[in-house]
């Protein structure tokens, strides 16, 4: 079983990224469940998306101890920090102490702004980087899921920016 917790603030696409990852795993024949927690505001405040991927059916959908934290924002990362988790984070928005060996940073927000002129795609850059670094699912599975979503072309490009970084 792998537990991945995406954290950030409302509007960054935290929940969407975790859902796409879960669907890609489901497409590969694994059991996958995605759950979430967010505030009543459309934008802002801490948001979390939990993805659990398992060979067994998932009876409790909330991540208890994340194996991986994907962080898009410092406030969210602080709230959900776990010493035992690998941290994949947006280094253009978050500064980590460097004490942790398994920190993996990518300037997702800056790359999305530069290449696609919008921070909207930072989540897909991070997802691409996560998939490359961990191999939880194949890039092909993620791309198949992305094809079903609006702005598939831009999202695909953002995903590849992270994946081939």
């Amino acid at each position: 079983m792998v537990s991945i917790r995406f954290v950030g603030f409302g509007g960054q696409g935290v929940v969407l990224a975790s859902t796409i990852l879960a669907e890609a795993a489901s497409m590969e024949g694994k059991h996958a469940a995605q759950s979430q927690s967010y505030s009543a505001q459309v934008r802002g405040d801490i948001t979390r998306g939990d993805t659990i991927i398992s060979s067994e059916p998932i009876i409790y959908p909330v991540v208890e101890k994340p194996d991986i934290i994907v962080a898009m924002d410092e406030k969210g990362l602080k709230k959900y920090w776990s010493d035992d988790a690998v941290v994949v984070y947006d280094s253009s928005l978050i500064t980590l102490t460097g004490k942790k060996e398994d920190e993996k940073g990518i300037a997702a927000n800056a790359m999305a702004m530069k290449e696609l002129s919008s921070a909207l795609y930072a989540n897909m850059v991070l997802l691409g980087y996560l998939v490359k670094e961990t191999g939880i699912v194949s890039a092909e599975s993620v791309k198949k899921v992305l094809q079903k979503h609006p702005r598939a072309e831009e999202n695909m490009k953002a995903f590849e920016l992270g994946f081939y970084q």
């Binding site: 995605q34 759950s35 927690s37 967010y38």
Partner: protein
């Protein structure tokens, strides 16, 4: 066909599969995705979606659609569910089949709009004034949002009564693989056979056939106490006979309705009772307890009301623990089955963690 969708979307797909062709509603978190999906899907299958000005109007147009012969539903959350209560009583009194989905969030009042709770258990049972019985189903995951919504329509058609799908935020928002079944058993309401129709004269099964407006029958529908023709009568005898039948048609036939999951109970001496998305936490805690040598099992009602005869399963247990996200709305009945019954309650915001349930089990 396995689709990767959330519980709310699964609920909408279940409704379509069951033959629902009308949705009237007012969006509210965390039920909004049901309305969104129905707005997309109903026109594709020849149905109608109507967004109303509020929840009072939403439930009323659902009742109207039902009398026009359509299977009809609405979906809401706690604050909207409160507003609908008066007309849920009207649906019970007029024996109008309809499905109301309440995706619970934390309250009272507007509470925590985006976070889970189970505070509407009693409101789903006795929320409207007067005496009546509702049927309340409690799905525990996205798959059951699909399956139990189908069942809700079938029960409402069979019993001519409002049926409530009492979901919650986690259940509505969890996204996972859902099997949209190729073959679904569908039930339809009885219709009158002859042109002489007494619209509220029940058959032996306690259910009157239901005439549909526009099909040529003369009938009258009212929330006032009424005779078999449907006309108001101010009489204790008629009231007694009518409401007795409204209660009996659910209570006396509850064997057809009640359903539950029994997990590891055969050799258990501790029974955990949980329902809805809390059942996932409880089931995991039971598995962890077994690993520690605690002989625990889980009783998960899939139908909350009418109340099943669960006493037989529970009375000989050494310990019973009810886990729910309220102050004991199901516990108040469950504690009558066994003297040594405890409550692990809460007010919502997040599910109980399996670890926390296990801790309570260990010191029980």
């Amino acid at each position: 066909m396995l689709e990767f969708i959330n519980g709310d979307v699964a609920c909408a797909e279940g409704a379509i599969a069951a033959g629902c062709r009308f949705f009237g509603g007012y969006p509210i978190t965390p039920s909004t995705e049901i309305a969104e999906r129905m707005a997309l899907r109903l026109p594709q299958v020849g149905g109608a979606f109507m967004q109303m000005e509020d929840e009072l109007a939403s439930i009323m147009c659902v009742l109207g659609a039902s009398w026009a012969g359509k299977k009809a539903m609405t979906a809401t959350s706690g604050p909207g569910f409160s507003l609908m209560q008066e007309s849920i009583g009207l649906a019970a009194m007029t024996e109008t089949p309809c499905v109301i989905v309440d995706v619970q969030r934390a309250g009272p009042s507007t509470g925590l709009p985006t976070l889970v709770a189970q505070g509407d258990v009693m409101q789903s049972r006795f929320g409207s004034h007067g005496d009546y019985r509702t049927i309340v189903l409690a799905p525990a995951n996205a798959q059951e949002m699909y399956d139990l919504t189908i069942r809700a329509f079938n029960l409402s058609e069979r019993f001519r009564t409002p049926v409530i799908v009492l979901s919650d935020e986690v259940c509505g928002h969890i996204t996972s693989g859902v099997d949209l079944r190729e073959k679904v058993d569908i039930e339809n309401r009885k219709k009158p056979g002859s042109s002489e129709c007494l619209p509220f004269k029940a058959d032996e099964d306690l259910i009157p056939p239901m005439a549909v407006a526009g099909e040529g029958y003369r009938f009258h529908v009212t929330g006032l106490t009424h005779n078999e023709k449907g006309y108001p009568v101010t009489s204790a005898e008629v009231q007694q006979a009518l409401v007795t039948r409204l209660v009996d048609k659910v209570e006396k036939r509850k064997g057809e309705i009640v359903d539950a999951e029994f997990f590891m109970l055969d050799d258990a001496d501790m029974c955990v009772i949980a329902y809805g998305s809390e059942a996932g936490s409880a089931k995991k805690a039971v598995k962890m307890a077994r690993e520690k040598g605690i002989k625990a099992g889980l009783l998960r009602p899939k139908v909350l009301w009418p109340l099943g005869n669960f006493e037989d399963y529970v009375k000989d247990m050494k310990k019973v623990l009810v886990v729910e996200l309220n102050s004991g709305q199901f516990y108040s009945d469950a504690k009558c089955w066994n003297r040594n019954t405890k409550l692990l309650g809460g007010y919502g915001g997040e599910l109980h963690r399996p670890d926390d349930i296990l801790k309570v089990m260990e010191v029980f």
